[in-house]
């Protein structure tokens, strides 16, 4: 079965600092990978998805970027964080009939 590893679990960063969140997948090859952001008490907003190495689709214009340097690695980055970047970030892998497998999430607080 597929497993998503996502770290760190929590992160407090000052405004203007860079960001790098990493997600790795085990148990599958050539997965569709996703980054979602969830505001407190809200639904999920799709930020980026990737269907293969080097292929990134952005859903929402923002201060963030994503990269997929390896088949099972998906990275979310920012050069300069804003207060509005605070939230709960979730990485996910699509498993067809079995839906998404989600990582355990990173709670980012920008101060």
């Amino acid at each position: 079965s597929q497993t998503i590893h996502q770290w760190p679990a929590t992160l407090v960063q000052p405004v203007g600092s860079p960001l790098s969140l990493e997600c790795t997948v085990e148990g599958t090859s050539n997965p569709n990978l996703y980054w979602y952001r969830q505001a407190a008490g809200r639904g999920l907003q799709l930020l980026f998805y990737s269907v293969g190495i080097g292929q990134i689709s952005s859903e929402v214009p923002q201060n963030l970027s994503a990269s997929r340097p390896q088949d099972r690695q998906f990275i979310l980055s920012s050069k300069k964080l804003l207060l509005s970047d605070s939230g709960f970030y979730l990485c996910a892998c699509y498993r067809g009939s079995y839906g998404y497998t989600f990582g355990s999430g990173t709670r980012l607080t920008v101060v």
């Binding site: 799709l46 998805y49 269907v51 709960f88 839906g99 989600f102």
Partner: protein, 113 residues
Amino acid sequence: SQQGEEDPQALSIQEGENATMNCSYKTSINNLQWYRQNSGRGLVHLILIRSNEREKHSGRLRVTLDTSKKSSSLLITASRAADTASYFCATDAAGNYGQNFVFGPGTRLSVLP
């Protein structure tokens, strides 16, 4: 763009009662999925129902889909305190397989012991 919208936003019931949550969406779909999220955790996939299916069961879960009304319901029978969580529906657009699922804002379910 299409979107799943859960209803109600919050639901509080006693242990042993049934909980029903609804999801409405706007455009044709390939399938609809329900997820559960415990506070501060990732989402867990519960059940997927395809557009040509009308009802599916999984343990104490029952999901229905009415494509004519563009709606789905999730029924949890004989609820337990451990069912306390937020529940989300997710839909994909017909012809857009696995590339962009849209999640609703969720229903927060509280099951009181």
